[in-house]
């Protein structure tokens, strides 16, 4: 038995994996909604609706990816099946070397084209755009389906299939349909130009080399473009028809006698990736804005113009209010004062449109007073500050441990005034105080956040540093190091207000702050008995709750 095993192993070693080059012809495509990486399925009726939307969306995407049926005649697959995870939704279960994965994720929507060999899947093309709970609904629009299909095909090693029956005339020509506008009377997004030149070739995948191998047989030149025309319908007009015509050489016609060929933009696969990704994002912003306003249907019919949509998108955002109390146990006179402090916070964030990522923070520590026992009798102490900050949030998905990393540089104005105990005697009584009046300071800050997202909560850990530089003659600097954790629970009701659905959420937070006050010269005005000191540090911890509105 052992001998037999050895023989089998030896044979396996000698033969290796099947490393014969795979001739690429129009094959079967599997289109799969990634159930694991995607957002959690809605429940009840919404779940059925979501499933139906995927089935319809997949059909449209699959059709636009099919040979000769995509924009500009692109399209590479003979047939397709739709899956939701491992579950077949439509088509057949036959095996396929090609897979399109759609990830309707929490932070972004992704479309990935993969090719499979004996070693497994490898990514051929990938596009992502901001997440929207309406992403699957966008596929109801032919223009959006064309955008996604063309993005994937333009980046693939084969853009369109060319068959013998595609060619006609002398010199030989072939055609492709134009971009579709869906049910609208005009295109809603930027339509890319059809490629001016195509390379025509046979294609193989060499598994051993992990390389695409081509045999170029010729080229084709775009000779005419006929845009679609407006056609009157009962409820208005729509764009129909339109084609792109390419002229090729007799050598290509001769090569087609022996089998199908592939064509792709002569600029190369993925050469337009950046522009195509921008176009997809543009479409997503407009569609998401329309959908969020509950006007997706109107938008698809061209009755909700892009400008309004963009304005609406710009207006989408978030307002959060929070209140917290100092919870760290304080010691001595300074501790007594700090224990009486509380903090209010306001955060406004633009979450869509061109100003997406812009943030405004307002933090207020209302004046807190405490009379503490001193060496020479009771001593009055106080503290107050306010801070206006503008920030811009950059974020990305690290694909590791957390769903989103945010980096927010900030600039602002910080007003800080306090009279703080600075020394205690042997009995623990305040022996000295100092005025820390920094007046208005220019504040610079940076915040880094790590977020874990789900449909009903967001957990956010963060660290921030803020430095305020006093504009007073005495100079001075206040530096605050903070780290904290915020938890948002999007469990509240949605309230319609002027046609805009306002979503409510609750939050809880805790943050720790270490404040350091310093100056080149003695700080502030010296009162009788004040000490001529140049700095003091203290630490506080605030815990609290808040409410959030987003639209």
């Amino acid at each position: 038995m052992r001998f037999l095993k050895s023989i089998v192993l030896l044979l396996g070693f000698c033969l290796g994996p099947t490393a014969v080059a795979e001739v690429i012809d129009a094959g079967h495509l599997r289109i799969e909604l990634d159930a694991k990486a995607g957002r959690a399925l809605p429940k009840g009726k919404k779940k059925d609706k979501y499933r139906k939307q995927w089935k319809a969306g997949c059909q449209r995407l699959g059709a636009a990816l099919s040979a000769g049926k995509g924009p500009f005649g692109f399209g590479a697959f003979a047939s397709f099946s739709c899956f939701r995870g491992a579950d077949l939704v439509s088509g057949s279960k036959k095996d396929s070397a090609w897979l399109v994965t759609v990830v309707d994720g929490k932070t972004e929507a992704k479309f990935v084209l993969k090719h499979k060999d004996h070693r497994g899947y490898s990514v051929v093309a990938e596009y992502s755009m901001p997440s929207s709970e309406f992403t699957l609904e966008f596929f109801a629009d032919d223009e959006f389906a064309d955008s996604v299909a063309y993005a994937l095909l333009e980046s693939a090693p084969m853009g369109r299939l060319l068959t013998k029956s595609d060619l006609s005339g002398s010199p030989p020509q072939f055609k492709g349909r134009y971009w579709r506008a869906g049910k609208a009377k005009d295109f809603k997004f930027t339509v890319p130009k059809s490629p001016g030149y195509l390379v025509i070739y046979r294609l193989q995948w060499s598994e051993a080399e992990q390389r695409w191998r081509s045999d170029v047989v010729g080229s084709a030149k775009r000779v005419s473009v006929r845009p679609p025309k407006k056609e009157k319908k009962k409820r208005g007009s729509i764009l129909v028809g339109g084609e792109v015509v390419y002229e090729t050489t007799p050598a290509v016609a001769a090569a087609l006698e022996t089998g199908n060929l592939w064509a792709q933009s002569s600029a190369g696969p993925g050469a337009q990736h950046k522009a195509t990704a921008e176009q997809l994002k543009e479409a997503q912003i407009a569609l998401a804005a329309a959908a969020q306003s509950g006007k997706l249907g109107d938008f698809l019919l061209g009755k909700f113009d892009l400008l309004s949509s963009l304005l609406s998108s710009t207006a989408s955002g978030y307002v959060g209010l929070r209140y917290g109390r100092q919870v760290l146990p304080g010691v001595g006179g300074l501790g007594t004062l700090l224990n009486k402090t509380s903090i209010f916070g306001l955060l406004v964030e633009i979450r869509g449109g061109p100003a997406k990522g812009l943030r405004y923070y307002y933090d207020l520590l209302p004046k807190a007073k405490a009379t503490v026992p001193g060496s020479g009798g009771p001593v009055d102490t106080s503290i107050q500050f306010s801070r206006h900050t503008l920030g811009y949030s950059f974020d990305f998905d690290p694909h590791l441990l957390v769903d989103r990393v945010t980096i927010d540089p900030k600039v602002g104005v910080w007003t800080f005034n306090a009279r703080l105990p600075t020394e205690i005697d042997g009995d623990g009584l305040v022996s000295n105080t100092a005025n820390f009046r920094l007046g208005t300071t220019v504040s610079l800050g940076l915040e880094v956040g790590l977020e874990e997202l789900s449909d009903w909560y967001t957990i956010r850990g963060w660290y921030g540093i803020n430095s305020g530089f006093s504009l007073l003659k005495t100079g001075g600097k206040v530096t605050s190091n903070q780290f904290g954790i915020d938890a948002y629970f999007t469990a509240g009701p949605t309230i319609p207000l002027f046609g805009v659905p306002l979503k409510t959420a609750l939050m809880a937070f805790y943050f720790f702050e270490s404040v350091n006050l310093s100056a080149n010269k003695p700080i502030g005005e010296l009162a009788p008995g004040d000490s001529n000191i140049s700095g003091v540090s203290y630490t506080v911890g605030y815990a609290g709750i808040g409410a959030v509105l987003s639209w």
């Binding site: 070739y201 390389r211 191998r213 190369g268």
Partner: protein, 285 residues
Amino acid sequence: MVKTGFMQILLGILVCCAAAGLPLFVGGDLARAGEAPGKAPVAASTPVAAPAGPVAAPAGPVAAPALASWLESVKDATGGIPRQLAILRTLPKLAGKFPEFLPIDKAKFDSLSYLRVADFASSDWDFKLNVSKLKKVDPFDAVIQITGADTVILAPEQGDWKILRKVDDEATVVHSGKGPASVTPDAIISWLFSSFNWDGVVLAQTSDYLLVGSSTAALAQPQIQALAVSNSEDKLRLSAAERKGSGLLSLSENSGGFGVFDIVVLGQGVTKIMPGTKVILEKKK
């Protein structure tokens, strides 16, 4: 098996001597094909003294293999034998940058000699198809990987042309010089053989037959004589001093840039002509 008569051998050697323009057979005595070293030595200063009368090959009469099947069996030979070329206009130095291939008629080029050139259109397109896989690959290595070339010709519009090969895992210039007057396949083939300073290369040996790659035009001359150059199997380019003979050959069959040569006589001590051995053809007027 020795088929060639005495007069033919003598004539062939004299012609080869004249063609090569060097003192033939100096330091390389000839023996009959297959003869043991040291047997029947020939004086160095004397042109080959062929044996009187026909000499039987030691291994007995063995027919030459069919050229087509022989070619198939050695098609993947590597080593000192340039077989597959890539001809470039530019070769960038930075990884991720792509070379520019010289547009050349592959069918015409391949018909002119045993050398094969990578199709410029397919190679250029393969670079674009594999752009993400080649981002971090050295451009020279990328050319080798994409085209399968063992020899790269860098043919800039201005300046010297260069022949590059991979030596000790490094891209190495093995020859540099003024390029041909034009970039036609004929001119490039002539330039290549002239730069190599040899006319053909032994691809394989079976019994007394050698499969030789050369130019189609040279092999089109019937029963042409040739000289196998000693110790040349690992050299891409020969200097004048290195063109010393180790055997005399005679063409018996040819197809395009490939020919089957009979071994007429071998130099003293030579029992085998290694694949990669370079060959100098007689120059017939």
